[in-house]
């Protein structure tokens, strides 16, 4: 290695991990600044607009909190899946299919149910749909060895096209000519604070975060998941079932993504439309992909996940401001998020090795 001395670290230090987190964000912002300069924008001005657009006013905070909700739900589910080394990249698709299922229940359920029950059914349908899709991938992985990265990803696109089909076809609101469904009846729209923060979903999210945190650190299954993620062979030898673990984490992460989808439909847009997955400005900025970064940032603790979700939501919201006010393409947001993830990955080596700049000649 280039003139660096590396020494295996005896105990992984939590401070180092925090440091890496911070460093990755800083480096991402720096590289972003270079990109901005190259395109003729002023980085300092850009970042301050970003910040104020995200946190600078009451309405900005409200918007940020609104976007935090799906990121939190999906992020904590993905963090769980990643702990078991189950690479669930299919959150976008699982979110959409959840949204579809929820909308279906909202608009087409023939019975006259009291609203809370109906809403609950929507969420359950969303969970089931997302979980089902993810479980399919888990099943294919365990039984025939199909990589989850590939199956979840291809399904993302398949489900997306399904959404297009429904919105331009059978589910299109009559007479409109746009890809929306008819609006959800008022009773089924989620109550909100400050007009956008659909707190029922938020509550589900917070409960999910707490439950998952307790689950991972204190239960038998949580222990099994950790063992399996760290060393699958040792897990097999200890009698831990690969199938059960993979299924479990995929069902949970897929289900949570599905719930997030229902939340967006019932709480934000009040109808099913394109962009319900957050991809309004670009496909890759959909919540499902962005949540991957949330999951990595927040993987160590529940509080971490919540903070990470909030922070990243802020970037997403601030990005809109950048586009409308400064003319900076929304793609900038994806670029920064991607850099953060790359930085985190590169930084992981610091948790295992101590690096010092030595006088030794390179190997």
């Amino acid at each position: 290695m280039l003139g660096l001395k590396t020494e295996k670290r005896a105990v992984p230090s939590p401070w180092v991990e925090l440091g890496i987190l911070g460093l990755s964000v800083v480096i991402a912002l720096l590289v972003g600044a270079i990109l901005l300069l190259m395109q003729g924008f002023n980085p300092l001005h850009t970042y301050s607009t970003l910040f104020s657009g995200a946190f600078g006013s009451f309405s900005a905070l409200a918007k940020t909190l609104t976007k935090t909700i799906p990121l939190l739900l999906i992020g904590v589910g993905l963090a769980l899946a990643f702990k078991a080394k189950a690479w669930n990249i299919g959150a976008p698709g699982q979110m959409i299919i959840g949204a579809i299922a929820g909308t279906g229940v909202a608009l087409f359920l023939p019975f006259n149910l009291p609203a809370p029950v109906h809403v609950a059914l929507m969420f359950i349908a969303g969970f089931a749909a997302g979980a089902g899709l993810a479980a399919l991938c888990a099943f294919l992985n365990c039984k025939i060895g199909l990589d989850m990265v590939i199956s979840t990803l291809l399904l993302n696109y398949i489900v997306l096209k399904l959404l297009w089909y429904l919105l331009f076809g059978p589910w299109q609101a009559p007479g409109v000519g746009f890809p929306y469904t008819t609006a959800l009846p008022d009773s089924l729209q989620l109550s909100t604070i400050a007009e956008t923060i659909h707190y029922p979903t938020l509550i589900i999210g917070i409960i999910a975060v707490i439950l998952i945190h307790i689950f991972v650190s204190r239960t038998k299954q949580g222990y099994e998941i950790r063992v399996f993620g760290e060393n699958p062979k040792a897990a097999e030898y200890a009698g831990i079932s690969r199938f059960k673990i993979t299924m479990l984490v995929m069902i949970v992460s897929g289900g949570l993504a599905g719930i997030a989808g229902v939340g967006e439909v019932a709480g934000v847009h009040h109808m099913l439309k394109l962009g319900v997955d957050g991809s309004g400005m670009a496909y890759v900025s959909s919540f499902g992909y962005t949540a991957i970064i949330v999951a990595w940032l927040g993987r160590r603790s529940a509080l971490g996940s919540a903070l990470a979700a909030f922070f990243i939501a802020g970037i997403l919201v601030g990005g809109y401001g950048l586009q409308t006010v400064e003319g900076i393409p929304y793609a900038m947001v994806s670029a920064i998020l991607g850099l953060i993830l790359i930085g985190l990955t590169a930084g992981m080596i610091l948790t295992r090795y101590k690096i010092s700049f030595g006088r030794r000649r390179s190997k």
């Binding site: 992984p12 204190r218 038998k220 040792a234 200890a238 009698g239 000649r361």
Partner: protein, 525 residues
């Protein structure tokens, strides 16, 4: 064709004129190498003459492999110098070593199973751009004939036996023009016959002026094949002595630093009921071949059944079948009267089967998790470690502290990641975990492999203690001495079949050796 290759600076294969017998071809002076927390080599001087076999003796962890890795360019020394044929050299990587005609045959073969023999050898020894496999075949056939190493260049490596794979490793090195050979524990996978063959090859090479460095921890081999012997202990050179002047006892004493007990104190134990019954078991290997052919045996409480056999005779597959990790195609497995054929690994664990795996870190440990979390790997489902859903952290902590002290696992704290413990402590951790539950059946595979003498003794003591506590123990080891010392009865496997089961006290090494190479018990007169 001179095309820059992704990987190597182009250098022609330079074969030095064969050195005169007796000349010093390798001189290492004052070699020191430090790793975090320890000194692997401490100011070591080491030299080798052409035409000699120089044994490098020491127990595991003494620094022998490190020293040779330095010679081969895999490590850089912190201090010291190396002279090859009188010239000072700076060996920065294996390709430098190869260019100096140094070749190393590692203990764990560095081969690609899917590639052919020719392809594996071509990698190291030919620079042909096109069709590397075919052009090198000629050379392979010539050299293999010269040294008597039988091998089929077009066979794929996974199809070969361990001895043939050993030949491939040797050929790799020879085809590359090596005249200084480093052999790292070359006999660990060989039968007695294979060893004899290897030694006669080495004698051939000696005659031609090759210099051979023979790393081993086996005293008999040192006495049999080497001309000189250097003993390392804990990173320091203790002595270099012409083999003619050494005895087994003196070598052992230098190696360990004290008088070594070659025998272990085994108390007579009354055998109880049959715990494990294996009936005509057939198990398939990874390649679809029958690895275990109609194997039958039984083990009683308080008995150690040792399985002897060269590596690859089916022991690995047998053990996997006995723990639920591999499917049993035919036959039956009965544990304490219950049929457990093809039951899941978890049920074996629940039924009181303990398993000490061959690959400690890969299979038996989660290196990134703490010591205490590793200690509950088998028992976490049952009280006191868990109540219904939740783990009882207090109980886990207490039990960990108790086990650490009882089994003498040296670790900074129960929260230390298990991966940084030394080999001996890892093995004691695993044993602590496996034996503290008073298992009915304990399967120990190569339990003392790679451990320092102190750890070897403590592991063997733990096994014997378990035997006194009436566990049935299945012991698999490549160390014939260990098998003969520890077992009550010995079963010998060859090519998936059991050649014979004998009482340990009533059989000789030669007889076991014969069975290991295919002679069934009935045919030994």
């Amino acid at each position: 064709m001179k095309i820059p290759l992704p990987g190597r600076k182009r250098k022609a294969i330079v074969v030095a004129p064969e050195a005169k017998i007796g000349e010093f071809v390798v001189k290492m002076k004052g070699i020191t190498k430090r790793f975090p927390g320890m000194v692997a080599n401490d100011n070591i001087d080491f030299d080798v003459r052409a035409g000699e076999v120089h044994a490098l003796l020491g127990e595991n962890g003494a620094g022998k492999t490190t020293l040779m890795n330095i010679l081969y360019g895999l490590y850089k020394p912190d201090e010291g110098e190396i002279y090859i044929r009188g010239q000072k050299v700076n060996i920065k990587s294996p390709s430098d070593a190869i260019n100096l005609n140094i070749g190393m045959v590692h203990q764990l073969f560095k081969q690609v199973p899917r590639h052919t023999v020719a392809e594996n050898i071509a990698l190291a020894s030919s620079h042909d751009f096109f069709f590397p496999g075919s052009k090198v075949k000629e050379k392979i056939l010539r050299i293999s004939k010269e040294f008597g190493l039988k091998v089929d260049p077009d066979a794929e490596v996974w199809q070969l036996s361990a001895a043939e794979q050993q030949n491939v490793e040797l050929l790799k090195v020879l085809c590359r023009g090596a005249q200084i050979l480093i052999l790292d524990e070359p006999t660990s996978t060989l039968t007695p016959q294979g060893k004899r063959e290897l030694f006669s090859r080495l004698k051939e090479m000696k005659k031609r002026g090759y210099a051979i460095i023979f790393i081993t921890h086996k005293l008999d081999e040192v006495l049999k094949i080497s001309d000189r012997c250097t003993i390392l202990r804990k990173g320091k050179k203790i002595k270099t002595i012409p083999t003619s002047k050494a005895t087994k006892r003196s070598l052992a004493r230098w190696m360990v630093g004290r008088e070594v007990l070659f025998k272990v104190k085994k108390k007579p134990v009354k055998k109880g009921k049959i715990v494990l019954e294996v009936k005509k078991l057939c198990v398939l290997g990874d390649r679809g071949e029958t690895a275990v052919k109609k194997v039958s045996f039984s083990i009683r409480e308080g008995e150690i059944l040792g399985i002897a056999g060269i590596g690859g005779s089916g022991q690995g597959e047998l053990v996997e079948a006995l723990t639920g990790l591999r499917k049993i195609e035919e036959g039956r497995l009965i544990l304490s009267g219950k049929d457990v054929t093809n039951v899941s690994p978890r049920k074996f664990v629940d039924a009181g089967v303990a398993y000490v795996p061959e690959k400690r870190i890969e299979v038996g440990l989660v290196p990134t998790m703490s010591v205490k979390e590793n200690l509950i790997l088998k028992d976490y489902r049952v009280p006191p470690f868990s109540k219904r859903l939740f783990l009882d952290r207090g109980a886990i902590n207490r039990s960990a502290k108790e086990k650490i002290s009882r089994y003498n696992v040296i670790a900074p704290s129960p929260d230390t990641p298990a991966g940084i413990l030394s080999g001996g402590n890892i093995q004691r951790l695993i044993l602590a975990r496996e034996t503290s539950g008073e298992p009915k059946l304990l399967i120990a595979t190569y339990p003392t492999y790679g451990l320092d003498v102190g750890s070897v003794e403590s592991v063997r003591e733990l096994l014997l203690k378990q035997r006194e506590r009436k566990s049935a123990i299945l012991l698999i080891s490549e160390d014939l001495d260990e098998i003969m010392m520890m077992s009550d009865r010995i079963a010998v496997m060859y090519e998936g079949k059991i050649m014979g089961i004998v009482d340990a006290g009533e059989v000789t090494r030669e007889e076991i050796g014969l069975m290991m190479t295919g002679t069934p018990l009935g045919e030994i007169s």
